[in-house]
């Protein structure tokens, strides 16, 4: 089988593939929006009832329901909501009586900052741990790293967070136990405030990522092309970086995307312990106060983040595979 030269139509074959992935992500996002809308309307309780309290008369509640558009049939409300969302207007919070976009704009940067710093640190750490244990397979370093990562997976994050507070805030007095960040806080102060939440979250996600990296790299190290490279006299570091990693990157990125998607919605415990003003705690508040517009927007953000990460992983895997790329 002799294929055509690689330059021809490489882009022509890649673009439809990538476009297909994007389209299916958008379709999934739409289906998710349906699920979110239906699920949130199934929640017991009623925002009007919740707002007006126990003493409200049925007439008052009906009037408020009408004002909030809650008396319209579900599909109509869904179309209105989705249409407004597409125009960048997620509605007005029932509880705070201010635009949902303003509330989220207040919190989203905090969550993104926390997620980004954690992602950066844990990716570097996971790659290092994964590669180090793969190339020392069966050795002492490998066993030590295995035990360490498995323990981290096993320990609940609230315990890690609490122990970290105990050690660094209570005993050593190095770091604040509460992470208060406002737009006025300086960079250095922000980083100090974030240190403990980042530490706790890193412990949660790094183990999974490191173990997947180890598996992918170890699998590639057994391939005959690695032995061939050694017999060509290629230094081992170069073999790992230039021969093994291009082949391992697809599964590694996939595992990382799965782990990192936890950083947005899954940070709830950490946000609560450190009183950090992020999106996850906002969403929990929205559930307890039946604040549907806010709840729906938060859920959409989490799902969109997840899908975006998966999309990135898919595209990287496509680009890393020469059978698809060239």
């Amino acid at each position: 089988m002799t294929a055509a030269p690689p330059t021809r139509s490489a882009a022509a074959r890649l673009l439809p593939m990538i476009a297909g992935r994007i389209a299916s992500s958008l379709l999934t996002l739409f289906l998710v929006s349906v699920v979110i809308f239906v699920a949130s309307s199934l929640l017991p309780g009623d925002a009007a009832q919740e707002l007006l309290g126990q003493s409200a008369t049925p007439a008052q509640i009906a009037a408020l329901r009408h004002e909030m558009g809650l008396d319209q049939p579900g599909p109509v409300r869904f179309v209105h909501w989705l249409g407004a969302l597409l125009h960048g207007d997620p509605g007005v919070s029932f509880v705070a009586n201010m635009p949902v976009s303003d509330i989220i704009a207040n919190r989203l940067p905090n969550s993104l900052l926390l997620a980004a710093i954690t992602a950066l640190i844990s990716i570097v750490l996971a790659l290092t741990i994964g590669i180090a244990s793969a190339i020392n397979r069966g050795g002492r370093i490998d066993s030590a790293l295995n035990i360490a990562t498995l323990s981290l997976v096993a320990i609940p994050e609230f315990l890690i967070a609490t122990l970290a507070v105990l050690a660094f805030s209570v005993k050593l007095l190095w770091l604040p136990s509460i992470s208060l960040v406002t737009p006025e806080t300086g960079w250095a102060e922000t980083l100090r405030a974030l240190a403990l939440p980042v530490l706790s979250l890193t412990c949660v996600v790094v183990a999974q990522m490191a173990r997947m990296t180890r598996a992918a790299v170890a699998d590639q190290l057994d391939r005959p092309y690695v032995e061939m490279a050694r017999l060509k006299g290629v230094p081992f570091g170069r073999i790992v970086l230039f021969h093994v990693m291009p082949n391992a990157i697809g599964p590694v990125i996939n595992a990382m995307a799965l782990s990192l998607s936890y950083l947005m919605g899954g940070a709830l415990v950490v946000e609560t312990i450190f009183n950090y003003p992020g999106l996850a705690s906002l969403m929990v508040n929205a559930v307890t106060s039946r604040d549907m517009p806010l709840l729906q927007s938060c859920a959409m953000i989490f799902c969109a983040t997840y899908l975006a990460l998966m999309l990135v992983a898919d595209i990287v895997a496509i680009l890393a595979n020469p059978r698809l790329r060239a």
Binding site: M1, T2, A3, P5, P6, T7, R223, P224, Y225, E227, M228, A229, R230, L231, K232, G233, V234, P235, R238, F242, H243, P246, N247, A320, N321, P322, R323, A326
Partner: protein, 611 residues
């Protein structure tokens, strides 16, 4: 088994110190779980004069690759290399440290692996891997390296040498990739090249060209070479000296010509005998046609109007009588295995019929009755993957007994023992897992599993390809005996025309999914053949050192055609005797004569050309 080694003959390397490679008392040991060390290779001594080729010959497990890798100071699985002398040029390999060895590997000693498809990194371009030895050893800059690579590609007769390096390994053919690996090895101008079964994974027609290219390139570079192989005929073509190995010990060594004509050890004689398969008498088969395959079209993808999206087989038909054997040969990709899958119902045909004793079978396996399934059994090529490693031999064989015959308990137990006797395995093996068996034993179990169903038709798909010659010959003997005793009709699929010729009563040649020739064994010799059959026959190396040199380079295609219409002869783009104005415009006619059928314009006509 170690025999007294003859002193090197006078024609051999007389002065070992002048040799480019000198090995004395080489032993390689691995640590056992109980702390002792076990020698996998012991007391190996040989020398190779500068610019000559030495072959290490042996079956799997003989230690030939282990010895070859030791010449680079490399061992697998943490084995330890020890030698009185392990010298390449002026380097004492045994005394060198890891970083010194790394500096030598790929620069002064180069390695060509068995499977280029596995040895090339699938994610990087070919050129980047070919020039890597020059770059990591600092022998040339990127531009100069590229120029050298292109020059080598050209001298190895690779197509479009300027651009082939920009492709990825999956974009070139197996034979090209193997030559590209030779370029990767020769690019630094090494003094020693180690070739580890470099043509074993190739089709026989490709092997000739690759061998020729290797031989010329090594001669041109002036390098000394060590050629590892199990195939005596191939080794005969390239090497001046042969070392015969068995179980990690040297059995015999000497000049190639001497080893071939006057082998001194029993083992070498066995190897030579196995390489020349004995012609078995034609079975006196009954007249009833057990299996009839009638103009099968099959392939993969959606079927539209009887044609699959990717057609593989086109209009293939034959009959097999009870107790006789049909041999199916062709290169990889010719549709041999697809044919077996269609007959077994694993891949339903798009059109055409499979008839068992005249009764048409449903095309798909799911629609066949249990009785119909029982009567056709498939033996897969690779027993390693066909046998469940978690089951014992008894479980594996008892499963079809319960499924087809309802045998359970003591009756099944007794029948398993009978079957083990039949395939000549000790009954004690029944409680082992398949992973504990040798390759030949596994293939026997694989065969017993099929025989347990008591089939009328046995489909053997390359059942000896993964085995050593001697072991494979024993399996062939067994199948031959069984079909005579049990009257089983056998379809024997193979890429090896000499095996098929020796073993089968009738031969079917497939090319690109078409049956280009069908011929009874009795009429095979001394008759004209389809040009493709001719090419297959001519490509099998003889045990004659001059064979490669005297065999004219395969004649190029007679007509320059790029794409051919599907109804024309598929072999046209490669055919050396194609007739302009006929072969490129009319579909090939089928000539039937005296039990033979040939799909060719040349056949039967006045020009009945190909000898």
């Amino acid at each position: 088994m170690t025999v007294e080694l003859a002193p090197p003959p006078a024609t051999g390397p007389s002065d070992a110190s002048a040799a480019a490679v000198e090995v004395r008392g080489l032993s390689i040991t691995v640590a056992q779980p109980d702390g002792t060390r076990r020698a996998i290779v012991e007391n190996i001594s040989f020398a190779v004069p500068r610019g000559e080729v030495l072959a290490l010959i042996g079956e799997s497990g003989s230690g030939k690759t282990t010895i070859a890798l030791a010449l680079m100071g490399f061992s697998r699985f943490g084995a330890t290399i020890a030698a009185d002398c392990l010298r390449v040029g002026d380097m004492d390999i045994a005394a060198m440290g890891q970083s010194a060895l790394r500096g030598v590997r790929g620069s002064r000693i180069a390695y060509i692996a068995q499977s280029a498809a596995a040895a090339f990194n699938p994610s990087r371009t070919i050129l980047s891997q070919v020039i890597e030895p020059l770059l990591v050893h600092g022998l040339a800059g990127r531009e100069e390296a590229r120029a050298r690579a292109v020059a080598l590609f050209r001298s190895l007769a690779l197509p479009s040498p300027e651009t082939i390096g920009d492709r990825y390994p999956h974009q070139v053919s197996g034979g090209q990739l193997q030559r590209l690996m030779a370029a990767m090895a020769l690019i630094t101008g090494p003094e020693l090249v180690i070739l580890d079964e470099p043509t074993t994974a190739l089709d026989v027609t490709t092997q000739v060209e690759v061998l020729r290219a290797f031989k010329a390139a090594i001669a041109e570079s002036g390098a000394t070479a060590v050629y590892v192989s199990h195939d005596l005929a191939v080794v005969t073509q390239v090497s001046e000296h042969i070392v015969v190995l068995q179980n990690g010990r040297m059995v015999e060594q000497g000049d190639s010509a001497r080893i071939l004509t006057a082998p001194q050890s029993e083992y070498t004689r066995t190897l030579l005998a196995a390489a020349r398969p004995a012609i078995r008498p034609t079975a006196d088969a009954a007249l009833d046609k057990v299996l009839t395959v009638d103009s099968i079209h099959a392939g993969y993808g959606r079927i539209v109007r009887g044609m699959p999206a990717t057609p593989i087989l086109a209009d293939v038909g034959f009959t097999v009588r009870r107790g006789s054997t049909l041999g199916v040969i062709g290169e990889s990709g010719s549709g041999k295995s697809t044919l077996a899958r269609v007959i077994a119902g694993l891949l339903p045909a798009a059109s055409g019929e499979v008839l068992l004793e005249g009764q048409p079978l449903p095309r798909a396996m799911a629609q066949r009755s249990r009785e119909q399934l029982r009567r056709i059994q498939l033996v897969f090529q690779n027993a390693d993957t066909a046998l469940n490693p978690a089951q014992t031999v008894r479980d594996i064989i008892a499963r079809p007994l319960a499924f087809y015959h309802g045998l359970k308990g003591a009756a099944a137990h007794a029948r398993v023992d009978e079957l083990l006797d039949l395939i000549r395995l000790p009954r004690a093996l029944a409680d082992r897992r398949s992973t504990e068996l040798s390759g030949g034993q596994k293939q026997r179990v694989n065969l017993a599993r099929a025989l347990a169903a008591e089939p009328d038709v046995l489909l053997c798909d390359e059942v000896t390809s993964a085995l050593d010659t001697v072991v494979g010959a024993a399996i062939l003997d067994l199948i031959d005996e069984l079909r005579r005793e049990l009257g089983i009709a056998t379809v024997f699929i193979s890429h090896d025309i000499s095996t098929v010729r020796a073993f089968c009563d009738e031969i079917l040649v497939l090319y690109a999914g078409r049956a280009v020739e069908r011929c009874p064994k009795a009429a095979f010799d001394g008759h004209s053949h389809h040009p493709y059959t001719r090419l297959l026959i001519d490509s099998v190396p003889d045990m004659d050192p001059t064979w490669l040199a005297t065999r004219a380079a395969a004649a190029g295609p007679a007509l320059a055609v790029s794409a051919i219409a599907p109804e024309l002869c598929r072999f046209l783009p490669r055919c050396p005797v194609a007739i302009g104005g006929l072969c490129d415009s009319n579909p090939p006619p089928l000539h039937v004569d005296d039990g033979r059928a040939i799909l060719c314009h040349r056949a039967g006509g006045p020009g009945d050309a190909s000898r």
